[in-house]
Structures are given as C-alpha cells and as structure tokens.
C-alpha cells in the first residue's frame, strides 16, 4: 500500500487552531536553536568539521565498524550484527530470554521504533516501559512518537492530564507540567526498581575506544542502565565516529541544534560493563548499507537525529509527524524512507516547498532539499504518476514548444476558466482548493503590449 502524505496531512489540517499551535510550538524550538548557535562564532567551522568526519566515516565504514567491534569486545562488550529490523528484534529477545529477563526499561531509541521492537517484545511476553517522559506519554496513549526529539509534541497538556489521570491515577490539575513530570518520576521509579534489563540507543560509537555515548536530559537512560546489570544498546551502522576527540565536535552541535541547549544534561560514555554486569551492542543495517550505494543519497547517512530540519520545515510544522508514516518524519525522513520502499513512500519527497531551510540548519550539512529534488525525479520516472498529471505535463510541454499554440491555448484558457464555476475548476485544479482564484484579465500580456507599446 502506498502512503499519501497529502491525504494524511489533510486529516491533521482539519483542526486549524491546533495546526497553528503545532506550528508555533515547533518554531519555538527553531528560535531556541538560532539563539544557541548564534553565540558560537566558529559554528560554520563546526558544521564543516562534522560533515567531513561523517564523509570520512562513510568512506571507511567497514574498517571503522570492525575496529569498533574488536575494541568493544576487548572491553568486555558483546557485539551482535543485524541485517534487518526483524533480526535486531530477535537478537534483543534472545538476550533477554537467556537471562530470563521479563521486564525491560527503555530510553529513547528511534532505531527500535524503526524496527518495531516494542510490539515484537510484547507479543513475546516482555513487559516494556519507555522511560523518556515524551515516549512514556505516547506509549500510554498507544501512539507512536510524532517527533524524534519531542515525541509528544503533538499532544496538548490537557490531553496528557486526562491520559495520566486515566492510566496512572493522577489528580486533574489542568495539565500542570511540573505536577505531571513529578508524577511521571514517581511512576517510572517503580518501573526502574523492578526492571530486569535496560535498553538504550546510541548517539555516537567511537571506533578507536570501542565505547559509545548516549545523550539525554531526563536521566532516564542512566537510571535504567544502572538500576539493572543487563544493558543492551541498539545502534545503526552509521553511528560510528573514528576518534574520541570527534565527540568534541558532535557534542557541541547536537543539543544546540536539537533544543537550543549548549549540551544535554547527561552525556554518558559507556566503555565497559559494570562489575558483574553484562553489556550488549546490536549493530543494525536495515537498509543503510544499500543507501550507502546511492551516490546522490548517501549523505543522508550523516544524520545525527537532532530534529532541526523538522522544527524549521514549513510542511512538517503544518502537517505533523504522523503525516509522514515513518519513525523519522520530516525532511530527513523524506530522503531516508524512499530508499527503503520507493513505492510506499513515493509521496514524501513532494512534502516540501524546496525552500532549503532544512539544509541551512542541518548541523552535519546534508543537502536535504537537493536530495528531495533528486528523489522527485526518480519517483516520476519509476512510479506511474497520476494520469491527469501526465496529461497536463504532456500538453504543457506541447504548448511551451510552439509559440503559436501557446498563444492560442492561453487565450482559450482565460476564456474558459473565467466561465467555469470554482467548484468545477477545483475538481481539476488542486491548487485552487486551498486558495482564492485570482481575477482573470480579459487579454493576455502579449495582446496588451501590442496595443500599448
């Protein structure tokens, strides 16, 4: 089944005040990002450095992964490889099963969303608790995250008030964020205390040390990992960086781009398991090595998942994360997903005004807008466009190739369009569905010019 971004966005757009609210909430994050980055005079140098490190990584990905693996093993970490999301899920489950671990606490990992880990584990009898507040909110609401950094950005505080009242038995206080956060803290403590295992994502894995870094604000990742003795970390193959000193570049740009903080509250560096504990890393491909082979699109693998491109995108802000039907929505999701399933995600490269703001804010300098444009060309060639679009393009092409035909058709178009009532025009002209039809002049510019020169 192919997914249609315009159709899904239409659902979101039904509630106009909510769209305005969502738009402003995301723009707020963009403004914070601007404030944080404008204070760094060497910001552009940092972006270039980050981009060069990532380019170096992609050209040496195999050797860095092998280096990371051997160093991690020497550090006492178990390393697993998963070609697909399904294999990743099976590996995680087998680790849990072997240790007889039934209750898992998770910190935020977009990769596990991509792999569909939660439903798989739950089907197999594992009790899974997402411990990031935003993720816990959407988990309790039985929804996926709508943003990679702020998973519950689409929810109003009153809705969270209702949700917590129903699921956690909190008092109704109109959605006071302080109260709800304190209640979530208490609730999640009970989950940490009884947990058998913890799963985290990975922000950066360092080839030369075999260690990895997890960045969080709430403290839930370290809380989960250190309450238990079994730590599983899931990472995509592109999370590798060569040197520990490269972290200096990435930790400077990540939080500033994501939330406008100078750095996340916790930047945790894991190198060896705790004494008596166990640490596992699952390295996941799931289509990434194929994307590496597409010269025009491999740059998308630079992504460090900061979300800045979403916060700035005029389309994302007004269509919401769910309209993309992907674990990573927004502009970056729209260049990652067509590589995984072109048929299903063929509408995503068109969910953009090509304004280029995403590329401007991207801290690792991905040319997102250009990749969107290139995907459009592939989609148009490989996927059959709607018949009407094909006809319009064909007839448009004929008109533009012949000045005589062009003049004649323009004259007829002016006459006919003025005669048709707007509801008829809108059947053919999608542009007019959200806009006012302009006043149509009686003559073309060419005719006017002939008379008046």
């Amino acid at each position: 089944m192919s997914h249609s971004h315009p159709k899904a966005a239409k659902e979101f757009l039904r509630d106009e005040p909510r769209v305005d609210w969502h738009d402003k909430a995301l723009w707020h994050a963009r403004v914070k990002r601007d404030d944080a980055t404008s204070g760094i005079p060497e910001w552009e140098d940092l972006r270039q450095a980050a981009s060069n490190i990532k380019r170096n990584v992609l050209a040496n990905l195999d050797t860095y992964l092998e280096q990371f693996e051997s160093n991690a093993k020497a550090n006492g970490i178990n390393v697993h490889w998963a070609e697909t999301g399904a294999e990743h899920n099976e590996i995680v489950f087998s680790i849990l099963k072997e240790k007889n671990a039934r209750r898992l606490v998770k910190s935020k990992s977009m990769l596990t969303e991509e792999c569909g880990l939660n439903p798989y584990l739950e089907k197999n009898g594992i009790d899974v608790t997402d411990t990031d507040l935003g993720e816990r909110i959407v988990q309790l609401a039985n929804e996926p995250p709508s943003h990679i950094v702020m998973p519950a950005i689409h929810k109003k505080k009153e809705e969270i008030d209702d949700l917590f009242h129903e699921k956690l038995g909190t008092e109704r206080r109109g959605g006071d964020p302080d109260y709800l956060t304190q209640e979530a803290r208490k609730h999640l403590r009970t989950r940490f205390l009884r947990a058998d295992a913890a799963l985290t994502g990975v922000n950066f894995a360092v080839a030369e040390t075999g260690g990895f870094v997890v960045c969080t604000n709430e403290g839930n990742a370290d809380m989960g990992v250190n309450f238990t003795t079994l730590h599983i970390a899931s990472m995509g193959i592109e999370k590798i960086i060569p040197r520990q000193s490269d972290l200096g570049v990435f930790l400077r740009i990540l939080a500033r781009s994501a939330t406008g903080q100078p750095i996340t509250v916790y930047s945790s560096h894991f190198k060896r398991p705790v004494q008596g504990g166990e640490m596992h890393i699952v390295i996941v491909d799931n289509g990434r090595s194929a994307q590496l082979g597409r010269a025009d699109f491999r740059g998308s693998l630079h992504c460090i998942r900061c979300g800045a491109c979403m916060n700035t995108c005029p389309v994302y802000r007004r269509s919401g994360g769910y309209s993309y039907d992907t674990s990573v929505p927004g502009p970056i999701g729209s260049i990652l997903k067509p590589g995984m399933d072109l048929n299903r995600y063929s509408s995503l490269p068109f969910a953009s005004s090509l304004c280029g703001s995403c590329s401007d804010v991207c801290p690792v300098k991905i040319d997102i807008d250009e990749q969107l444009y290139k995907w459009r060309q592939i989609v148009t060639k490989k996927i059959r466009p709607p018949v009407y679009k094909k006809m319009i393009m064909k007839s448009g092409g004929l008109s533009l190739a012949d000045p005589g035909k062009f003049d004649m058709r323009i004259k007829w178009a002016l006459k006919i369009s003025g005669m048709l009532p707007s509801f008829i025009r809108r059947l053919f002209n999608t542009w007019e569905r959200g806009r006012k039809w302009p006043e149509i002049p009686n003559e073309t510019f060419k005719d006017w010019y002939r008379k008046n020169r």
Partner: protein, 195 residues
C-alpha cells in the same frame, strides 16, 4: 552471517573518495583563566546549576536536614551512607551526593564525573541533590579542550553533567528536576598551589 553480509555490502557500496577527518581540536581563542571561569559560572547558571563557594559552604543551605548523605569529599562532609552494603532500594532514599568532577567546561557548564568518582554508577542520577566540586585549574573553554584532557583516560563509564535533570516534553514547558538529580550545586575550589 549477517556480519559478513553487512560488511560486504558496505565494501561494495562505500564511496571510493575519502576526505581526511579534520585535525582537532578547533581552537578559537587563547586560554585566559579568569575569563574561562567567568564563562563557566555564567553558563552553569544558565543550565540551572547553583554555584557555591567552599569558604561559606553550609549543608543546610543545600538540603534541609538531609537524612542520607554520600560523600567522596571529606572536606565537605563525611556522609553516612554505607556504600558497601547499600542496596538499590537504599540508594533510592539518598538525599545528597557529594562527588568530585575532574573536568569542567566553560562553554556549557558541563562537569565530567568518571566512574571512580561516583561510588556507584547509580549515585549521581538517583540522588535528589547533587553537589559536584571542581578545581579552578580543571575548567577548560570548550568540549575540544575537555576531550584533550580526557585523551588518556581509560574510565569504564563517565558522564558529562550539565545542570539538573530536566524535560520539556509537555508542551515544551521547561521542568527542572525530571528523573535524575533534582538540583545541582557546584563548588569551585581553588587551584592546587604549586609545591
């Protein structure tokens, strides 16, 4: 085997041209201790940290009658947590933890705490109030400088901590005190005098 399959595909698909990674650290300005410390204090306050001075430190200014205190800095407090025998459930009741950071970063107020300075890995996160000490001469300008200092460190687990735990997951309203430590106090100590 998935490992071979993944690595083979990467070898086949990776770009043939490579760029050298940049030489690091990116240096922006010369180190001026007084400016660096002022910048550290400013940014630490901006992320919600509270600065205390050793000379006029009083425990009651941090926590009202704390029952359970863990300290790795005897100059400040001896503490009363029996770390050897404490269970996780006991740590849950920890009111104050006093730990020594080994690097401070001016640009973001972050402080590096290696595992050796935690007592237990859970301590800096589970305590309600966290007090970190940092020696003036261990405060550097940027994260590049911080990793320079950590180049030879081989700690199994270490954390940069910048301010108290926080969240903005509910309508982007900033809430200080999420799941980790609720407050962060930082005591800036004088640099060691040269012998």
């Amino acid at each position: 085997m998935s490992r071979e399959k993944i690595l083979d595909t990467i070898r086949k698909n990776k770009p043939s041209v490579t760029v050298d990674p940049p030489s690091l650290p990116l240096r922006v300005k010369a180190y001026q201790p007084e400016k660096t410390i002022a910048e550290f204090e400013k940014n630490l306050r901006a992320v919600g940290g509270i600065i205390l001075y050793m000379e006029d430190f009083k425990m009651e200014n941090v926590a009202d009658n704390p029952k359970l205190v863990f300290s790795l800095n005897e100059g400040i407090s001896k503490g009363n947590l029996d770390i050897e025998n404490a269970r996780t459930e006991d740590l849950e009741k920890l009111d104050v933890a006093i730990l020594n950071a080994t690097v401070g970063v001016a640009e973001n107020g972050a402080l590096w705490v290696p595992e050796e300075n935690m007592g237990r890995r859970l301590i800096p996160f589970i305590t309600k109030d966290l007090i970190l000490t940092i020696r003036k001469d261990l405060i550097v300008d940027t994260m590049h400088d911080a990793y320079d200092k950590l180049a030879d460190s081989d700690t199994s687990y270490g954390v940069f901590i910048s301010g108290p735990s926080k969240t903005a997951d509910i309508e982007q309203a900033l809430v200080i005190g999420a799941q980790g430590h609720l407050r962060l106090y930082v005591i800036i100590e004088q640099a060691k005098t040269q012998p």
